[in-house]
Symmetry: C2
DNA sequence: TGATATTCTCTAATTTATAGAAGAAAGCCA
DNA sequence: TGGCTTTCTTCTATAAATTAGAGAATATCA
């Protein structure tokens, strides 16, 4: 079994979470929101491409919308293989994190 | 906040889990056992060194034992800072993985 | 002492992560 | 229509992390 890299995991989960609305910008916003830190453009698109290569996500070109202009979006969707890999990842993590103590408020 | 890399997370958790018995060889065995795959020596020691540098673990030289010879062990212990970082990591992961479906047996 | 066992140090090669400039593609409006 | 603005992506260079394993250190055993 091959573990996903950190960034692959985070991006892949974001795609899953964003359902039909996953594209570069929304993925980046979502990750920033959760981690509370800045992420460069490349930090998103590079692993995104790799996930496509690996067959864990598919991608398709979005159509122009009625909103103020701009290049059209490239959407991403998680594949069933992607879901399987995530499920395996969680398996490993559950074992690793088992019994790790809850934070005590002090 | 800076996320730990994948290998840093896995190694750090292993040290925590192995309590007083964490050194290169046991960490490597433990990770192999959980992931079911081969890990080179370097894949363990390199992130181990980095964790020391970052102050997330401390290290001390073990004494020779009565067992069949060999170089003495270098033990590792997680620091309180290491525990804090892990707690933060889990926080992020819980959000990311929230609602991810359980695997259905088929 | 020489053979054998155990563990670690070190470094090179590959893969990932990170940053952001530049450009493509769309709507807006004189 | 043509230029301006907005939105989003492509591309590429650099830094950091991962991975592999040869080789050396250090201990016991006979």
């Amino acid at each position: 079994m091959k573990l996903l890299s950190r960034q692959e995991e985070v991006v892949l989960l974001s795609i899953w979470k964003l359902k039909g609305n996953a594209y570069g910008v929304t993925v980046r916003e979502y990750i920033s929101e959760i981690t509370g830190k800045y992420w460069s453009i490349g930090a998103i698109y590079v692993p995104l491409d790799r996930l496509v290569e690996k067959g864990l996500v598919t991608t398709y070109q979005g159509l122009p919308t009625k909103r103020r202009g701009g290049r059209s979006k490239r959407f991403y969707e998680i594949t069933s293989e992607g879901m399987e890999v995530l499920a395996e990842m969680r398996q490993v993590q559950r074992i690793l994190w088992k019994d790790f103590p809850e934070v005590t408020a002090d």
